[in-house]
Symmetry: C2
Subunit: 79 residues, 2 copies
């Protein structure tokens, strides 16, 4: 079973990497971009076969290692 974790900075948190991308896109002539946020995606291959249990386990991984929950939010989906 595969799980995908998407980790983004929380909404109020400054994202200099996203801002740099927005600036670079403007420089390349892509005018229609008003905001950019960059985050991480982590795909996990799990040996578990039970979706709900796997999702809870991955949420524990996020809390313990993958995300910094002070400034980041995460979403877990089973794919």
């Amino acid at each position: 079973m595969k799980a995908r974790v998407t980790i983004m900075l929380k909404d109020g948190v400054l994202d200099p990497q996203g801002e740099a991308i927005r600036h670079a896109l403007g420089g390349l002539g892509f005018a229609g971009v008003s905001g950019v946020r960059q985050g991480k995606v982590i795909e996990l291959d799990l040996t578990s076969t039970e979706a709900e249990a796997a999702k809870a386990e991955v949420a524990r991984m996020c809390e313990g290692l993958l995300a910094n929950t002070v400034i980041e939010k995460y979403a877990v989906e089973i794919i």
Copy 2:
């Protein structure tokens, strides 16, 4: 309109960051993880209102700046 770009290393490409995460998860006692791949996610706020045109524009951004298409694959979705 918002677009989400997910950029992952292509399947054959070594992913040391993902491997480090797998190792760290094992060390924390999460045994059921057989593989990890890490990638980037970029959320774009677009002024465009036409979904198909926006998707094509974002694909051009990926080819020109966001992804290194030699080693990375990308997926664009309008959200």
